[in-house]
């Protein structure tokens, strides 16, 4: 319960932000919430199930393009968003069949290739997508409604992620991560669960993609299929700590801060710096920040311990 109270409190503060005069903060939190949602939804496949889906931003891009195209056709926002997430979910279901025949690093690389495939498609299908120049959507200032919508999607993604982790489905995903062969022998429907996990994780990503493009009123292949947008949610999840909900949040805040204060000062080598972060993470901290010796006790004292090892503590409570 501590877990929920902390987040409800946080969300109330965030919701009040626009009325307190922090207009710059609103833009910042908007982008942070988009990244956080991407990181958290990535984590259902990458963290819970242990399949590194480097192509998670494909869903973001699909959502963005579908929404943009439909908005330009005169559809209203909600119809466009609905279509966006249905399309992304359908695409996820379709692609899961061949992709999940690969495991481990092969899967990761293939999903990475998926981004470039879709990028090439958007560049080539000029009539539909406007080619490499991208497309603009009907103009207008949507910052405030977009802000609340993204906060809403982020909150919903958290609830989703939390309930997946505590469900039978989540248990199945964990077992796939640990040892897929044994999981299968013990009756876990691995193929079904893998596909389902990909579909579930695609939904929040495509929704924030749609809201993002509605707010920005412009989308191009580079802005939604670029390397940075592909990798930053994954780096956030990995840096914070995968498989626990607090991880992507910590990672998202950390990376967004770095982007805010470092990127504006150093115009070059952004990708090289991401690269260095990845290498250092891989070498020294594969568990992420929340699992390091110094941070873990602190997080637990804050009452977020439930989020670090909720499953285990919940059981202990019920037992006593």
């Amino acid at each position: 319960m501590v877990f929920y109270s902390v987040f409800v409190l946080l969300w109330i503060i965030l919701a009040a932000l626009p009325w307190l005069g922090f207009s710059y903060g609103v833009v910042w939190i908007f982008l942070l919430a988009v990244s956080f949602t991407l990181a958290l939804s990535y984590d259902i496949v990458g963290g819970y199930m242990g399949y590194m889906n480097l192509g998670h931003s494909t869903f973001f891009g699909l959502g963005a393009y579908t929404t943009a195209i439909l908005l330009n056709q005169g559809f209203n926002l909600f119809t466009s968003l609905l279509a966006a997430f249905l399309l992304a979910a359908f695409f996820a279901a379709l692609i899961s069949y061949p992709l999940f025949r690969l495991r481990g690093a092969y899967f990761a690389l293939a999903t990475f290739g998926l981004i470039s495939l879709i990028e090439v498609l958007t560049v080539n299908l000029r009539d539909l997508t406007g080619g490499s120049g991208g497309i603009s959507t009907p103009p207008g200032n949507h910052m405030l409604p977009a802000y609340y919508m993204v906060l809403g999607v982020a909150a919903a993604t958290m609830v989703l992620s939390h309930s997946v982790a505590r469900s039978k489905f989540g248990l199945g995903l964990f077992s796939i991560r640990e040892d897929e062969e044994v999981a299968q022998s013990f009756g876990v429907p691995t193929s079904l669960y893998k596909g389902l996990a990909l579909v579930i994780s695609s939904v929040p990503a495509s929704l924030v993609g749609g809201i993002y493009v509605w707010n920005m009123t412009y989308v191009s292949p580079e802005s939604v299929f670029g390397l940075e947008i592909a990798l930053s949610p994954i780096i956030m999840a990995m840096l914070g700590g995968t498989g626990v909900m607090i991880g992507p949040l910590v990672g998202a805040v950390f990376i967004t801060l770095v982007q805010e204060f470092l990127w504006t000062k150093v115009p070059y080598f952004h990708l090289a710096m991401y690269g260095t972060v990845l290498v250092l993470l891989g070498l020294f901290m594969p568990g992420g920040i929340v699992r390091t010796r110094w941070v873990k006790p602190f997080i637990q004292r804050l009452g977020l311990g439930e989020a670090v090892e909720y499953f285990k503590n919940v059981d202990a409570e019920r037992m006593s």
């Binding site: 998926l114 090439v120 640990e178 090289a272 891989g282 070498l283």
Partner: protein
């Protein structure tokens, strides 16, 4: 068959040979280290740039360069292995997977970004040509034929090395079973370093040929690595002969797509082939059925 088609075929086979050579290197590293090196494509790019530099500044013939880059990249490969891969080599499988993806992907981003900074414009191939030949009414560039010959010779030399020498046998032993190899006293770490550097050198050498025919850009590394994935899966995971054939298939498919559908569609064919083969025959064309 028209002369055009034969020209296309030759071009495709050539490109395929280059892919096959590089993918062969990737197969070796994956087999020995259990690490899929996502930076592998960047070594082809670096090899291309180096041999381009050798040609432009020192006037060194690309075929000589293809040999010269081998020792250079073997040293680089050992360094890469010691610095980035050896520290994570003994982790349990799931952690090794995550750590290796992070490390090699990070290295790839780093290499590409730094190279792009210093190499702003794409390198548009080496203008090195030999007089063309005419075979049965078809004009064939003798540079291309020579490249093909070179690749074939390198692949054969590699195969011999793996079959005949002690180190080569050790590499094959580790591929077949790491634990078993350890038990019979093969120095895993040293052989791994060597295997990694061989894989890297093959990629770089392939790069030297690549630059004689195609345009090189600093950001082509990751798309190339994805092509190797397609090649390796096409040929069947772990099958060395398979990866050469996989390379040929991809090379020809890409060239034909570029000709008939337009060059902008060529980058999609690798992924489409990958998806097709995963649906139809996931064990690859040359892999053993389970």
């Amino acid at each position: 068959m028209s002369a055009d088609f034969i020209q296309l075929l030759v071009g495709g086979i050539l490109l395929g040979g280059i892919y096959g050579l590089a993918a062969f290197g990737l197969s070796i590293t994956f087999g020995v280290l259990n690490v899929l090196n996502l930076a592998h494509g960047d070594f082809l790019m670096l090899g291309s740039l180096l041999s381009y530099g050798l040609f432009v500044w020192l006037g060194i013939n690309p075929f000589v360069a293809a040999i010269l880059v081998i020792p250079a990249f073997m040293v680089l490969g050992v360094g890469f292995y010691l610095l980035l891969l050896k520290p994570i080599a003994d982790k349990p499988p799931h952690q090794l997977l995550v750590a290796s993806i992070l490390v090699t992907l990070g290295a790839s981003l780093f290499i590409e970004d730094i190279t792009a900074y210093f190499w702003e414009r794409p390198v548009t191939g080496i203008s090195y040509t030999l007089p063309p030949m005419e075979v049965a009414g078809v004009v064939i560039s003798s540079t291309r034929l020579l490249v093909l010959l070179f690749i074939f010779a390198l692949a054969c030399a590699m195969q011999l090395y793996l079959k005949k020498t002690f180190v080569g046998k050790s590499i094959r032993a580790i591929v077949q079973g790491r634990e078993g190899a350890k038990v019979v006293g093969i120095p895993i770490s040293r052989v791994s370093a060597l295997a990694f550097s061989i894989g890297m050198a093959l990629a770089a050498s392939a790069g030297a040929f690549y630059v004689t025919l195609f345009t090189v850009t600093p950001v082509m590394g990751i798309p190339l690595t994805i092509k190797y994935l397609c090649v390796v899966v096409l040929g069947g995971l772990g099958s060395i002969v398979g990866s050469v054939f996989g390379g040929l298939i991809l090379g020809v498919a890409e060239t034909l797509t570029a000709y008939y559908c337009g060059a902008e569609w060529a980058p999609t064919i690798a992924f489409v082939l990958l998806i097709l083969i995963l649906i139809v025959r996931p064990e690859g064309l040359f892999g053993a059925k389970k």
